[in-house]
Symmetry: C2
Subunit: 113 residues, 2 copies
């Protein structure tokens, strides 16, 4: 269990997405996370490790507790990759709609960064 370790791989697993969802609101320690799932604490521990490895989670050690905090910057990469195809799924219908979409985007073109 030590090969490919990128964001896409990390979020491919539903349990890991659930973990992210859980700690996005507020940090939880490993056991707290594990309690919400059917699988063993160890299984969760491994998932967390993977999330740490790819940078989606950081640990704040506090006594014997390890609080997992979501650090979702890396998701930006996925967002970017997916976004580049948005028009492909939003305007699959016909040229007309593509055109309208484009107009709308231009009208309130509010791109950050």
């Amino acid at each position: 269990m030590k090969a490919r370790r990128d964001v896409y791989q990390a979020i491919a697993d539903p349990t890991r997405r659930a973990i992210i969802n859980m700690i996005a609101t507020e940090p939880h320690n490993v056991n707290a996370i594990a309690e919400k799932f059917e699988v063993s604490r160890q299984a969760i521990s491994l998932h967390v490790k993977i999330l740490i490895d790819c940078g989606l989670v950081t640990i704040r050690q506090q006594g014997r507790d390890r609080f997992c905090e979501a650090q979702l910057d890396q998701l930006g990469e996925v967002a970017q990759w997916v976004e580049q195809y948005r028009r492909h799924w939003e305007s699959k219908l016909d040229a007309m709609e593509t055109y309208i979409e484009k107009l709308k985007k231009e009208r309130h073109g509010k791109r950050k960064k």
Copy 2:
């Protein structure tokens, strides 16, 4: 090879993302796709199958050719899932960092959105 078959799983593989990227612009038949990669035609054929299974690719049969067309609607799900966390990575929620951000903003009044 017949278990989980969702979009997240599908795009987890870099080769599959490359295939999507390739046919997003215009359809290619299986061999045409395979030629662009180092792996065997069969390997590509399997990747395509996975993409078909999760709805990201559709086939247009034409004689002995099977043209693969990108059908990226399903990516919307991923986009949505990722987007819900955008603020998490665009504005770190950590109190400390928020504070620092605030200081920086105040210093050289540079807005972000």
